[in-house]
Amino acid sequence: MTASEFDSYRPPEPPRRRRGSGKGRRRAAGSGWLRRGAEGAREMPVVPDAEVEPYSSYYGRPVVKAPPWKKEVATYLFLGGVAGGSGLLAFGAQLTDRPVLRRNARLSALTTVGVGSLALVADLGRPERFLNMLRTIKPTSPMSLGSWVLAGFGTSSGIAAAGEVDRLLGERLPLGPIRAVLHGAEPAAGAMMGLLGSPLAGYTAVLLSDTAMPTWNAARGDLPFLFVSSAALAASGLAMITTPVEETGPAQALAVLGVAGDLVAEPVMVSRMDPVAAEPLHRGTPGQLLTWSKRLAIAGGVGTLLGGRNRWVAAASGAALLTSSALTRFGVFQAGINSAKDPRYTIEPQRRRLEARRAAGQTGDSITTAV
């Protein structure tokens, strides 16, 4: 991108693709498909290679910045989903009188929501200020609303799980008058877990989509469906590991529904995204994670359907489902981070939609104006 001969001494720059110019295209074609035909004895391709839409960027540097989130946040996406699903299962078990499933699901919910919250706090730049998350209620901030959901769910699962622990220990804890209060509050706490379960499992999808990260933002309408499906199958999987098959009938049914939802939601989501913005979901590590997530979901779903009456098959299927959900969350998380790092994912979809609007005669809403 320079005109001086001294530039031959420069360190190499990433290749810059040009937009618009027919000359540039012809040149690229000449060095690409024409030469390729000449190299070997194969027949020359009639149609040149499909060219990536040309675009400019500033030395290949990112336009948007990826959030400083590490593995902890991806871990929370997974654990928050498991917690939410477990909350729903626990409430269902509470209503249908399945004491073992209820106990195990409540304890699972408390454990996962607890570890997940710790992971979130650990990822903060100033962990000692984590309580500032509850400083305000802000509808435009999914993280603010999510913090309240998380706090509410955590509190109610804490109360419900405390009751279970007390019963497990044969009511030997010196609780005194608190015991009556605890057990009195248990049903309401269980109901609260059921109420906040699916919001906890799904709000993270809104949180990710409500950013300028191209892949997450492009998935905004459909990511919640993928996340709640993934949460449902993961929580069911955990219940199938912890609880004997006598009480996991509903969990197994939910697992199969979750797998079905997961397998439908992902391709639907991808088909509605800008093809360039969807690319990070298929490339590199995220692509592999999501492929394996799908395989494990199928394996777990089939295992549940065919061998769900066997304790060991059920537990193995449950483990496959849990892993599948974790891979989904890590895959989607990493794809979004990756999409911020290459300016192409930001610029090309934006260019395309801008030009589509202009072609449709809608010219009054561009940030670039001539007058």
Binding site: A3, P11, E13, R18, G20, S56, S57, Y58, Y59, V63, V64, K65, P67, P68, G85, L95, T96, D123, G125, P127, R129, M133, T136, K138, T140, S141, P142, M143, S144, S147, G197, S198, A201, S209, D210, T211, A212, G221, F227, S229, A232, S236, P250, A253, L254, G261, A340, P343, Q350, R351, L354, T363, G364, D365, S366, I367, T368, T369, A370, V371
Partner: protein
């Protein structure tokens, strides 16, 4: 920009419910007269006591060895070297923009005359045709609909009485959501505020890690503004490429300047952020660019993510209800023991 137009808010201080709102302030950065001296970068660092970005290194991107805007860099001068072909492309894309009839003033026939004049005088333009060096001092846009401000869960980011967007460093807990929420990649969490010197001198503890772990970005010199002072970058700019003032005046100056350049045949000149109907409702920092925005590292069609939030919440509500319903179904179907 599908069905609902982004709400028009020329002065966003109204939303913040100030009793006595001041007029909205902003920058107009005229890149056509930027000489790339980077005095703005230095003045900004000095006034705001921002730490070094890390080790000094040559980035191999013309004279830009700063890289990008970030937690410690609130003004960044971009350098782009272009040959004749690129200049022609830029001029052509600018002409197309004029022809598109972007928000126009005046009847169409007048426009036609103006276009003709622009095209005919393009042959004797003051710009050298073989080569040009674009320089542009980038800064936080202080958007009308600010993504960072919307998604901040703690309220650490707030709208000032001057319509600008500022981080309260003692509230921010460093969650990093604003970093992802900014469509321009401006705000960043300060990860390592170490002040390092080439000689590796130890610095006193008071200098180390200032405001570490919290989100940081341009404040439009909120402290100076309150004392009726010009922000450090604008004050120091030797060519008046960076102008500061009431946003309305900046907008008027921008319109005037782009018309002037078009008259001189420089159809590549265009404004960035001057349209209140764009995806962020217009920006507080307006730019005059000489090529497409992405050439400068700016997004060509930024859109505040919150504009779609209501729809996303609706879809998420359906998904969440679906999950609860699926669980209810599961308990009915799997009920036989």
């Amino acid at each position: 920009m599908t069905s609902e137009p982004v709400q028009q808010r020329p002065n966003p201080t109204g939303d913040a419910h100030y009793d006595h709102p001041h007029s909205r302030r902003g920058f107009f950065t005229d890149t056509s007269i930027c000489i790339g001296c980077k005095a703005c970068e230095v003045a900004c660092k000095e006034w705001n006591r921002n730490p070094a970005d890390g080790d000094y290194e040559i980035l191999g991107s013309s004279y830009d060895n700063t890289g990008a805007l970030g937690a410690d860099t609130w003004r960044h001068v971009a350098f782009i070297e272009q040959d004749r072909e690129r200049i022609e492309e830029a001029r052509e894309s600018g002409r197309k923009l004029v022809d598109l009839g972007m928000p126009q003033v005046g009847p169409p026939q007048e426009r036609g005359v103006a276009d003709g004049a622009a095209s005919s005088s393009a042959t004797h333009t003051p710009d050298t045709p073989e080569f040009r060096w674009l320089m542009s001092s980038d800064v936080c846009k202080h958007c009308t609909n600010a993504g960072c401000l919307d998604v901040c869960p703690t309220g650490a980011l707030f709208r000032t009485e001057y319509g600008t967007v500022v981080v309260q460093e003692d509230i921010c807990n460093g969650c990093g959501t604003c970093v992802a929420g900014c469509p321009f990649g401006v705000i960043e969490r300060r990860e390592d505020g170490l002040v390092s010197t080439p000689a590796g001198r130890e610095m006193p503890d008071t200098v180390k890690k200032p405001q570490n772990g919290v989100a940081q970005k341009c404040t439009l010199c909120y402290d100076r503004m309150k004392d009726d002072e010009t922000p450090a970058c604008a004050k120091t700019c030797p060519t008046t490429s960076i102008k500061y003032g009431e946003r309305e005046d900046m907008l008027a100056a921008a319109h005037e300047r782009v018309a002037q350049l078009h008259e001189q045949g420089m159809t590549e000149a265009r404004l960035y952020g001057a349209n209140p109907d764009d995806g962020v409702g217009g920006t507080g920092s307006i730019f005059l660019l000489l090529d497409e925005p992405e050439v400068y590292g700016l997004p060509p069609d930024p859109r505040v993510p919150t504009a779609d939030l209501a729809h996303t919440f609706k879809r998420a509500g359906v998904a969440m209800a679906g999950m609860a319903l699926a669980t209810a179904t599961a308990f009915m179907v799997g009920g036989r023991r």
